[in-house]
Amino acid sequence: MSEPGSPRVETRLVYAHGLAAIITLLLAITFGLLAAMEMLFPDLGANHAWLSWGRLRYDHTQGIMLAWLGNAFFAFLYHAVPVLTGRPVTSRRLGEWIFGLWNFAVVLPGWVLVLAGFSQPLEWAEFPMVVDVFVVLALVLAIIQFLPPFFARGIENLYVSSWYIIGALVFTALSYPMGNFIPEIVPGARGAAFSGLWIHDAVGLYVTPLALAITYFVIPAASRRPIFSHFLSMLGFWLLFFVYPLNGTHHYIFSVIPMNAQIGAIAASTILGVDVIIVVTNLLLSLRGSGIFPRDIGLRYVAMSTILYLVVSIQGSVQAQMSVNQAVHFSDWVIGHSHLAMLGFATFAAAGGLIHAWQRIPHVRYNARMLSWSYWLLLAGVILMVTDLTAAGLVEAKIWQSAAPWLDSVRAAHIFWLIRAHSATLIFLGFFALLAGLTTGGVGAGLKEVEASVGLEPVKHIAPRMAAAAEA
């Protein structure tokens, strides 16, 4: 049976990437949970080099960024690109290559090499350079796979999600080598200027655009109401791609990097907050009628992602200001911020997009009850973790400003780290429920649910070509 409404979706690749996403996610957060435990029981990994805290942390963040979000984004793209363009992706065979490369030439060897002691000590770039080569190769192949459908029959008007997808793929391919290779040949402070850019580009040019592509896609597709304003969508898009890359230096405020670059980055961070208010206003107005906790679980995830995006971005703008930054920089506040971004905003979008695509694959299992559980467990977990780490950061900042011994800040943080480990347990359970939601339950239950609620007709605004074909 072909999938109604979107006959060209490569459902096998959606399925493969979706499953890989959840399995690698469970591994990636196992690294995180172990690292959180080692802050409470520091001798846990003492006799095994591969279990030491630093290596676990490298694998945790690279795993979340490349393994979980990467696979989830691919799964979504295999669903969304054909729907948006009314055309198939370039090649199923190419898709199998990308899947193989991403999981067996990037994620798996990257993890193993880091644990074996081969890595590079650059944030969001910890996999060794030999793995980076395969990441860039896979990104180029992804451009070949996903972009031609947008331009196959000449140029036409694109929906905002398409813009975000094109932007994300192109700019990730550009910025990834910059962040992963240049600091190896440009030393010290000069290299740090590039690293600062990459730390923000990884979030701003790779994660955010793809998460927003999902958000802009799922909201109208699942609610069957058009996006509130296409003008605001496009305004948000262009502002984002202008302002996001200019944020990088805000990771090194009060450093030796020229003050003008720092001030520029702080100004850009402030404008970014305004941009996000525009984007989120548009998205929340598009959600009118669906509520904050919509019935459809994919939409529910995406709606929360939108709210968390607003919170994390405003927080980001605030913490880039010099007066705030000098106190909270280097503290757990920032760890809270990055969890709010990656675990809150990005993961909720990725999970929503994955569930949305999954519902529309015939012959896969689907368990709405477990998915609902995953949503509430994750939401509780992320709120607890971020609140806790933010409070920890404030306490640490206060102690660092005083004359108290350094270790006082470590002692004071202990209780917060204990709570964080508990919140990580909630999150672990939440992700386990996500896995169960997509692998248990009735076969085709997702499709039945969609048919019973909103139906499967193509939505005109996001899939004009397919809507026209359906009408004809």
């Binding site: 080692e38 802050m39 520091p42 001798d43 003492a46 006799n47 080099a49 805290w53 630093g54 290596r55 942390r57 490298y58 890595s119 590079q120 000590p121 944030e123 140029i155 932007g167 700019f171 550009l174 910059m178 240049i182 600091p183 190896e184 040949i185 030393p187 010290g188 402070a189 000069r190 290299g191 740090a192 200027a193 690293s195 600062g196 850019l197 040019l205 791609f241 202008f242 890359p245 200019l246 990088g248 230096t249 009060f254 450093s255 030796v256 990097i257 003050m259 670059a261 980055a265 000098q326 920089h329 280097f330 660092w400 004359a403 108290a404 011994p405 350094w406 270790l407 470590v410 002692r411």
Partner: protein
Amino acid sequence: MNGDGHRGLRMAYIVASIGGVGFFVLSVLLLAVWPGRVLEDETRRMSPQHPLGLTTSELRGREIYGREGCAYCHTQQIRYLQSDMARFGAPTLAWETRFDYPQLWGTRRIGPDLSREASTRSTDWQYAHLYSPRSVVPDSIMPAFATLFDSSPDRPRQEARDLVSYLETLGRAREIAGPEGDAHARNACNCPDEMSQMAFQSPVLNASPARARRSGPHPQLAANADAHRGEEIYVHNCQGCHGVHGQGDGPGAESLHPQPPNFAEEEFTLDQLSSTLWNGSVGTAMPAWRDLPVEDLAAVASVVRGFHAPQKEPAFPSSILDLGANVYKDHCAQCHGDQGAGDGSAISELDVLPTNFREERPSVTEALRVLRNGMEGTQMAPWSAKLSEAELSAVAYYIRGFFQPDAVRQ
């Protein structure tokens, strides 16, 4: 769709593509290439002429530092902020980072910044700390790197040696450049704003409160202190090396050279404890504790004095004391000084200052032990081969006479 509209759209997309890529290029130019040129120029102008690079061993150590994620808890970047300067010292200058491939600035501080770690701690402390951090810093949460050792902190593998030699390079180049290096940098800086001037405003290059110094003013600790508070401070900061009962047998003590003193067998004046707590003990693993409040130091000093069990003074026949005086004059006075004040003529040659017997009095047993075995990690040699048993005992008795207890001073 008519042809004109199509063309307009195509133009729009071309403009958009150029614009989009342009944004990215702009960000790299504005925030990486241009600052890079400024920094390169600054490095050229402000760097001392031949700054010391890293040896092969130090470079290997740097690899290990990177591989184990040290930079994810320890920054190597002192910001241009009073709070950073007060804790760690002079802010990081561009030229100091010129050999860092790749940079290890870090964005999180769970442990302290390490930009100025060179000559902050003794090597034996570093080994003990890497092998088992909690053995020397009871409340630390640093992971143990026992795998860099051959099952004892005394037996570092090459990797541990490399790592510790790398730690000794952090801040070294600027320290070697000395005040004239900083003066040169300040002149070459033409520092345009208040912030960049801060690079030269730190009173000391390395502000670590743990860094030991040979001498220096120190507060006079009060004799009456809060015993309960003292216990608490002792458990959290001292017990790792000095042991539960102050006998110098804590888990961290084993691999330290010299080993921590046995407080049960050593009597200290309050002045000596004040000085050691405030200034540390150069050449040994005993750091300074200038970051603790003075009341807490006073409290811990009374705990240390409380470990000493006063023993009944044996009566000395004057013949023994005469023999002791002669032995002392012939063999000990060059280092320990004529009056036992640890100020002999040879002390400038010594890495670890000799015991000042006016301020510290070992029991006879302890003095004999040290006389027979020497003190590993210091220039105090074993004397049992050179001196007879009678001479050893005599000098062990004799040195106790130098002590000036607090009561006598007042």
